[in-house]
Amino acid sequence: MRGGKTHKPCGWTGKILRVDLTTGTVREDDTMTYGRHYIGGRGINARIAWEEIPPEVGPFDPENRLMLMAGPLTGTLAPSSGRLTVGGIAPQMYPTSRYSRSGMGGRWPSELKYAGYDGVVIQGKAEKPVYLWVHNGETEVRDAGHLWGLDIFATIRALMNTHGDEAKVACIGPAGERLVHVAVIQNDSESAAGQGAFGAVMGSKNLKAIAVRGTMGVKVARPGPFLSMCLSVDRRGIVPPKMGPPKPSPSPYEHVQACSLACRAFCVTTFRKNIPGRVYPGLNSGQCHCFGFPAASLEEDFEARVTLSKYGLNGFDVPYGIARWLAMCAKDGLITDLDGEPVPQWIDRKTPSRFWLTLMRKIAYREGIGDILAEGTCRAADRLFDGKGRRFLDAIYPGAPEAPLGQVGHWDGHGTWAGAPPFPHWLVSVLIWTFDTRDPGSDTLHAYTNRIQSWPVERGGILTRSQMREVGKKVYGTEGAFDPEVSYEPASAKVLPAIWHTDRACVVSSLVVCEQFFPQVLSEYTEDHVGDLALESKLLSGATGIDVSMAELDKAGERIFNLERAIEVRYGRTRKDDEKMIAYYEQPDDKGIVLNREKYLGLMDEYYKVRGWDPQTGRPTREKLKELGMHDVAAELDRRGSIP
């Protein structure tokens, strides 16, 4: 099912760039073939994956599609609009590679829009290293022999020298060239699509970089109302009053830099600068938000961050995944050193940067043991130390080694560590993890957990328990959503918010805006403290001139998630795979609380029921797919005998 065509759309540029590297040809597809029903970003990626990537395709097959898809709000004044969603068969997924997604900010996604495209879809494989030069509606496939082997910063600089300092460059480093399973695609000094290792997919296609420059802008259908809507949005729409307006840091070593276009600075992303030391003195690299290297000093931490960015490695998986696993192996006596550099038995502030640099060099260049570590921790655990390290996996990788994820739970939303919510609120996190196809920590979970962290009185906020119950009722249709006394009963209390946030996250990463800010669940501005739940649809309507209600948009979110589920079903996913996530949460959280398996199975039953999926197989029913307008999806699943 596809939407009708419209002329010269606003918001969307109307064109998707299709590149076949095997033949060296480019063509343009009409975005509006997909736009009405799948919006952009994550939604359009899922649709193209469904139509063009059958389950037999591996991550490094030329037939795999590498999709970098922006959305109708990308490049506009809509808050945090500078993002896109990457999709394709992801090598990092374990035990088998499969379709997945990642997100990227920085200045590249909006520049792509200004160059005339809503997204780029790359298929095939070039004979020799190439890069793409995309500028104002023109695309050239160029030789990249002189760039192959360069690190990410050197590549960006070389292409800025060739195409002007306004050119924006997304590229891979040595890790992506060597098909490392934790390799990223990066633009600017640190904005990267990390999850899934799409840098390796790019490397497998012999594509070193995509340089873009555009001056064509994004047309807005209703400039006046759109402008006032965007400017009326600020932090008070999401954080409680005590947190106040953001303040710039007075430190000479820190600088608040937006990691996404039009970000009205909600999470106050701080970059390092003026760091003395041995790497690119003064370079703004080393975002202080969310990831970092436990290291002895600011300088050593910075060295590790910059090196990670140069090689093009995943900033979640290296410090929290591979290194943690190696440390557990070292404690068990399975490994003592890397090239004479001792492997620490515990990753903490005493970890010397020499260890980080050695580890990253060996992985990025596939030296010695690094060649195996480069396959990702789960695959390395199968091959190293006679498999004795496999037993440590499930402490780091939720669901490993069985669940079809295989990426580090950089943030599992569980316990009270690093801003995660306490029980029973983390039941919502567990549900979201259970049904996702990857680590949802960075694009689905925060919207719920951040509210729980900062708004209730008992957590230092301003809302009493009864007020939180009221909000829960208005937003999710269940009073128990934010209630600390409500756990497994009634099941809907945790299931409804999990589904609501999952579907809304699909909308947010299709528009594409940032999950740190959307949706606006709570607000300081309103009497009942319910945020502007329809803001996404108002922004979309204002930008595109097509009136879309929030109900329709939420339906699109549901459609996108069901389509991703259908893709999973094509790989054979069933309820049994969903249940593999339970074991991880049966480990005690920091208060000693564990997931109650029996009661949780009841929550899962309710989830399938509300979703309109079959509770036995966990698969979407024919009726549900048809209700969402996806008759062809239902028909193919039927043909494959995978519809309940």
């Binding site: 490049g75 506009t76 004044l77 200045r107 200004y114 910063f153 960006i156 600089r157 800025m160 300092d165 306004e166 600017d188 000094s189 555009g214 001056t215 064509m216 802008g217 994004v218 047309k219 807005v220 400039p223 759109f226 402008l227 965007c230 400017l231 600020d234 953001p246 710039p248 600088h255 608040v256 830099q257 937006a258 996404s260 276009l261 039009a262 970000c263 009205r264 600075a265 600068k273 003026n274 690119y280 003195p281 003064g282 370079l283 703004n284």
Partner: protein, 161 residues
């Protein structure tokens, strides 16, 4: 020719601007809200390449963002350089140095004359309309310069002279 010269001579005695936009580089987060709001207000589209001010950031240079915005100079080289009668003037209410797009022929003398216009961002060529555009302090807007309002960090301010 004589008429052109006299027009230019008259313009040498330009009124002072009532206000200018001043920049605090250290507060800029590089979000481009100012540029996007500016182009949206003046052009009906979000397009940094048509904004009347510019935020440049070299991601590898380790420097703060560079913000370029018209200083509404006391001795405006752009205005003096314009040889088209009536194409360049001073706005009555705000004192902003402004281009009359009806009369501008797109010759680019103003852009060449401005000593701050290295990157071509203060006096910008509009490829669609084939004229030059520049900051007019949002003279048609009641609340004054929109970019100042759009900045979430207060990196831009209106300074009354």
């Amino acid at each position: 020719m004589a008429e052109t010269r006299s027009a230019a001579l008259r313009d040498l005695r330009v009124r002072e601007p009532r206000s200018v936009i001043v920049v605090n580089r250290g507060l800029c987060s590089g979000c481009l809200c100012c540029q996007l709001a500016c182009s949206l207000f003046h052009e009906g589209e979000c397009n940094p390449a048509l904004a009347r001010l510019d935020v440049f950031h070299d991601p590898l240079a380790g420097m703060d963002n560079v913000i370029e915005v018209c200083k509404q100079c006391l001795a405006p080289s752009c205005l003096h350089a314009c040889s088209v009668p009536g194409a360049f003037g001073v706005d009555e209410a705000t004192g902003a140095r402004v281009i009359d797009e009806e009369k501008c022929v797109g010759c680019g003398q103003c852009a060449k004359a401005c000593p701050l216009n290295d990157r071509g961002t203060i006096l910008r060529y509009h490829p669609g309309r084939k004229v030059y555009v520049k900051c007019d302090l949002c003279r048609e807007r009641e609340g004054g310069p929109l970019c100042v309002e759009a900045c979430p960090w207060g990196a831009l301010e209106v300074s009354n002279t």
